[in-house]
Symmetry: C2
Subunit: 394 residues, 2 copies
């Protein structure tokens, strides 16, 4: 076999999201772009904000020696400091640049964290439904992912999380606003989770980290804010990116930030920086580090996402779909009108509407709509979605 056994197996399973994304590109070629309605991937369709273009055009004129060369594996001190200043305001917990590592996006940030903290066999708990690539990110570094069902409204089931924690538990991984549900965990829920992890850490005599993957932090609706996770629990690490809030998913820029109150924070930061290097990231892309240094707190205009959410939610609930209204992200996770989400996704696919089946999030019986799309895609897909809704739910 030309590849490792694990990779061969993983390739068979592949990612439902990516499969649909490739299928969509295929169908678009056959039927024409305007006939295919692709809700499969979270590739922001909004252009980056005007500020991004201005800063980028300005920075590329800078020909100072070394601006495209290596810097510290941690990232530019100015970039780390800018992130820390932003987080200090946003989280209400004082951070300095030392507590930040610039990374090649949030997926890199998660891998860097797990490389730094996981001993072989260590467990990471994640609530279902979840972004299934988490399984690979944990397995890459010898860890074991354990999933725990969420409550019916997709809020955290703290009893279930508590029951799942063992002496091998090294981290609980949360993602809020949540992919695929759009759920935002409240400050109360996070505080209760923090208390649980504090108690379990004491019991275990070994720290249980809260890893917060939050690339959708600034994609929230109805004027809501995402509660600060660093304020909820001492042993918290943030993994995030600018992919969604600045529509830069292809440029691979994000960071890890750690609560300065973590015991042994200096050793932890050194471990994160080392992991960033030895995993082959070396450092986050230089130019994009310099770009985001100047774009803290900037985000795309969310009007389109909110309009898409409202239009889809109303039109689908009207014909009987069971949906938790997303509070953030650009995802919606309706219950599939028939139990078999794969069969339902196939029926939609026949009508050139591409969604990701719930099984792709470890949660059969549901499907995900990524509504980071043009309004015409929403309107074009509604007849098929409503027709099937009426057929099964009417």
């Amino acid at each position: 076999m030309p590849v490792a056994k694990k990779i061969a197996e993983a390739a068979c399973r592949s990612s439902w999201i990516r499969q649909m994304f490739e299928e969509g590109a295929c169908l678009a070629e056959i039927h024409g772009c305007d006939k295919v309605f692709d809700f499969s991937i979270g590739n922001p369709n909004l252009d980056p904000p005007e500020e991004f273009h201005m800063v980028l055009e300005d920075l590329v004129k800078d020909r100072a020696p070394g601006v495209h060369g290596y810097m510290s594996n941690q990232g530019y001190p100015e970039a780390c400091a800018a992130v820390a200043a932003y987080l200090t305001r946003d989280q209400g917990v004082p951070l300095s640049g030392e507590h930040v590592v610039m990374t090649c996006g949030a997926a890199a940030a998660a891998n860097v964290i797990f490389k730094a903290i996981l001993d072989p066999g260590d467990e990471v708990i994640v609530p279902r439904p979840y972004f299934v690539e988490y399984g690979a990110y944990v397995d890459n570094h010898g860890g074991v992912l354990k999933t725990v069902a969420s409550l019916a409204d997709f809020d955290l089931d703290l009893d279930a999380i508590g029951a799942a924690i063992t002496s091998k538990t090294r981290a609980v991984l949360v993602n809020s606003p949540n992919n695929p549900t759009g759920r935002v965990y409240s400050a109360e829920t996070l505080a209760a989770l923090g208390r649980l992890l504090e108690r379990k850490t004491k019991e275990n005599g070994r720290v249980i980290y809260l890893v917060s993957d939050e690339p959708y932090r600034r994609i929230v609706f109805d004027g809501n804010r995402v509660p600060p996770v660093l304020a909820a629990y001492e042993n918290t690490l943030i993994a995030t990116s600018y992919s969604k809030e600045l529509s830069l998913a292809g440029e691979r820029i994000g960071y890890v930030a750690a609560n300065p109150a973590i015991e042994g924070i200096d050793q932890l930061m050194a471990g994160l920086i080392l992991a960033n290097r030895v995993l082959g990231f070396i450092n986050a892309p230089a130019l994009m580090q310099r770009v985001v240094t100047r774009l803290q707190g900037v985000e795309v205009d969310l009007t389109l996402y909110q309009e898409n959410r409202d239009r889809l939610y109303e039109a689908l609930t009207e014909v009987g779909y069971d949906i938790q209204k997303p509070q953030g992200t650009f995802y919606m996770f309706p219950k599939s009108p028939i139990a078999d989400d794969l069969a339902f996704s196939s029926e939609l696919l026949e009508r050139l509407v591409l969604v990701t089946p719930g099984v792709g999030f470890g949660f059969p019986g549901y499907f995900r709509l990524a509504f980071c799309v043009e309004r015409r895609i929403v309107e074009g897909a509604l007849p098929a979605l409503q027709e099937l809704g009426r057929k099964y739910l009417g």
Copy 2:
């Protein structure tokens, strides 16, 4: 402990190169930049070529939808095709874009390859001296690095490599032009290595890959060319970057290319693309992919590197240093005038000359000079280097 045991151990060992690099920054702050002569890190001091700036400034004006968004995990088809066309010319082996995966630099490329091909316990053989991070890149994915001494002139010792191959051998990793020696393996040597690996692959009944890490491919002196490695052996994978030839080390852009003749090439490419995704790279930075698409075969002006090499080689051999003259890269690996290369490096450090001890390349008794530096650094360091040379070798 806040970090994994393996990471804590690795942090203690750390990288000699990076340690010296950080030490240099420290010393420069104390003594002033002009008093510290830092040969510790391969951070190209030449600015990127004019074409790079022109292409970059041109591309950032492009505000077409999605130009900063996700593309296929493999990279832009145009980027892969441009690399393939270049390699077809350079290697004399016809490749198409399908045989290329764009990556976040060469370190990423190496990690992607090892993730894709290594089963637990698989061995990777590398000639000493070697870039010690290879050990981490192999270990990250459950492999075991085995080192084999090179010949006295730093050419490959094919007998030793042959003797080191077992049924667990999955790859031989070569780096030509070589860091730290500057050695370029000849076409004859590579062909003989190819024949050896072909024979051993047959004996094992399982492919042994030749992994060629070649970020210095275009940094060669005296008008030499690096012989094509794809032509030497069917089962060859190239890992490389634009970090050195375009002075873009901070931007993290490179690629993996595979010989199309590899049996099961489609499965291998799918595995590489999958590895690129699940390791958290997702894809190489979008903008830099588009930049290098238009800069195939372009490189920095090598005059300064060649002048530095000549000046250092002459001035050091004159006082008795034993040096293999580098054929490429911007490294020189002289024998330490005293057996203890750490003690010698410390003596240099006292004189504010920073080099990397040979132990940092698994090869005690030598030291590395990274001469990708301004001419004044070379001139400023020569008195101390010559003084110590005369002291011990005179």
